[in-house]
Symmetry: none
Subunit: 211 residues, 4 copies
DNA sequence: CACTAATCGAGACGGTACGTCTTGTCTTAGA
DNA sequence: TCTAAGACAAGACGTACCGTCTCGATTAGTG
């Protein structure tokens, strides 16, 4: 639908969209999101902060939630997944990063709010959330796992990436929002838990191989 | 449960609250919650459905969110934690129950929405959510763990109940809302993961004892 | 209906009404009336200010408006109609008094508000207002006129007391509320107007007598 | 009348207001006013009757009272002040018209209620009432008086238009609301009273001229 | 002295309206 | 065609009152 320039040399008729506008809106949305949370983020506020008319927002995103998804996705895009040399180190870095992100109430709250909207409208918002947000997080986990497989630390059978992603993100999110700040002790505990799983599977694999 | 001001024989002055009203409202709130989700649950609707004036709602709960917390807590109160004979069986029953509950978009969505509100207002809603909802879930996990300790299956040092609760509830919730329905395969995977943790810790304990 | 003691020696059964209560309420009502006007005078406020339960108010007056009528009537009862020696002097004193009273927004506004309610409910409030308030004002004018007749300054045929009362009270009220403060110039002008009427009628009477 | 920002060709930005809306609201307001009086006129009702959202009402009038002022002013605007040939005839017509208008409880009551509100909020409502309603009535009286001066029936020194307006409107209003219906006898009496004033002043002027 | 009958304070209750806020759509002028 | 500005219908929010009601506690007179 959106003919995001680039490959298409055919310009659409009429006045072209202001380049700066989309970024200004996204930035404004993230700020309002941080200030007031998803529920209290209003299109009116975002438009005012971006110095843009409300209709411009609706021309680009069909609803408030979609804009919120877009704005949160922009936050998630900043996550770096460097190679830290070992599965253990990668895992710690990943969990730390997740904790850092979700500890911020504006990001954690926004993510939870969008998950909630997902539940209400699985086909509309749900698809957008899954497509834009959850797959991003999933990809981060997958990258680490694949790297570990590449290094020979584990085998593909040992890990269900989907499950692992849900466990890591879900645990951290629940800790951040429902129980308390995910402090270092919590991160350590979660890492240890995952390490124990790896240990159990590796030792079982070794035993099986030994047989 | 509420020991109204110490002496339970001293009634509060004024006309006593209608017994039936609170239940009618809670029921209506749960229905509206299921029908339309937290965001679209309106006090107006709840009042109408309960056959009660809006002011009666506000006399009992300071805001929509607090009523929603109460209504969701009522759902959580129905969870049964029976003794299934072994930690493994208890765990499976617990995870199954969590999956059953959160799979329902109205419950899962409501829970996520309330967590999101928690992030926006940690002192008000946050306290209510933690006090009413999260501690309930925590208690369920704690019960199973204590039973396992009683049976001698594990020792207290082997498990951080707080962490375990976040892992179970968080993973299931994230699966339910962000990734897809938490089907039997997912539940199996999660159980296996937890079992592997137990295996690792038990074998390590055995090794230490052996030394 | 109300067996206001005195002639009836039979007391009503049950606990008698607190003597002080009625006065406390009336006073509180007048204060709230002065503070916030009739429209914003609330039974809740009056009760609180009088240190009395709302039901006590309703036990004595059937509605807010009736209580307001009672409270304003209490103000009107304080009006003194002394004999100033001549019709002119009595008239000036009367108009001055009316101006003094209605100039106070709380009294003037209350009176107007009650007249407005009269229009909405002529049989209920209207009767109360006419019975308690308007007749009081009418009586004041009548007293002055009768005194003037007694002194031989005018004859009964020369003046329609009803009309005169409406003219004096109505003019002053309208000036106070709609046009501006009824200052000395206004009072002078009104007196002069009435004096001219008297002049015209006296001179006509003299001419007729001369014929 | 409203010279929107000087240049009348420069339109205000944004979607222009629906022409029909203001009239529909005014009409609905007058109907509700007539049905239920100012106190019971509700924005909700007016909006529903006008087929308009409540926010549209509040976009144009800051509060219920301001809309009521507007609606009553619309009634007053229908008053015709024709030339009836003589001061006496004009006066009779004017008083008749005032009596006709204020005899209707919905108009009389509304006017009184707005005067009452004026007393409560002299700067807000008061200014609106004086500006919209009282000056209208004043203008009607002024027109008749000026015509009489033009005809040479009276001289400007003989009449204080402000005072006269208060006397006519105030007397009629008080009669209508506080005392009883302003019937023909009342109107006759008031006219006669005014005529006597004119007689007194004319004869005094003649005497002075004769000196 | 118990009984009856009303009062009192307190506050719950069903209603109703307030004025505010937001959503998503629309309608204009101008770029 | 896009943009800014803002009108519009819809509808929920949380607050404030109204007038009624239901309590327990009080306070007389009557049997």
């Amino acid at each position: 639908m959106t003919t995001r320039a680039g490959h298409s040399r055919h310009r659409r008729p009429g006045r072209p969209r202001e380049e700066a506008t989309e970024q200004a809106i996204t930035l404004a949305a993230r700020q309002v999101l941080a200030d007031r949370g998803v529920a209290r983020m209003s299109m009116e506020h975002v438009a005012a902060r971006a110095g843009v008319a409300k209709s411009t927002l609706y021309r680009r995103w069909p609803s408030k939630v979609e804009l919120a998804v877009h704005a949160v996705a922009a936050v998630f895009d900043e996550i770096e997944v460097g190679d830290h040399g070992s599965l253990a180190a990668d895992m710690r870095a990943g969990v730390d990063e997740a904790a850092r992100l979700l500890r911020d109430p504006s990001t954690g709250g926004a993510y939870a709010a969008l998950l909630a909207e997902s539940a209400r409208d699985p086909e509309g918002v749900g698809v957008a959330v899954r497509g834009s947000l959850s797959t991003r997080l999933h990809a981060l986990v997958a990258t680490s796992v694949e790297r570990a497989i590449g290094r020979g630390e584990i085998t593909p059978e040992m890990v269900d990436v989907d499950l692992l992603a849900d466990v890591v993100v879900g645990s951290v999110m629940h800790r951040a929002l429902a129980t308390g700040v995910p402090d270092e002790a919590f991160v350590d505990g979660l890492i240890e838990l995952l390490a124990d799983v790896a240990y159990a599977r590796l030792s079982r694999a070794a035993r099986n191989a030994g047989t």
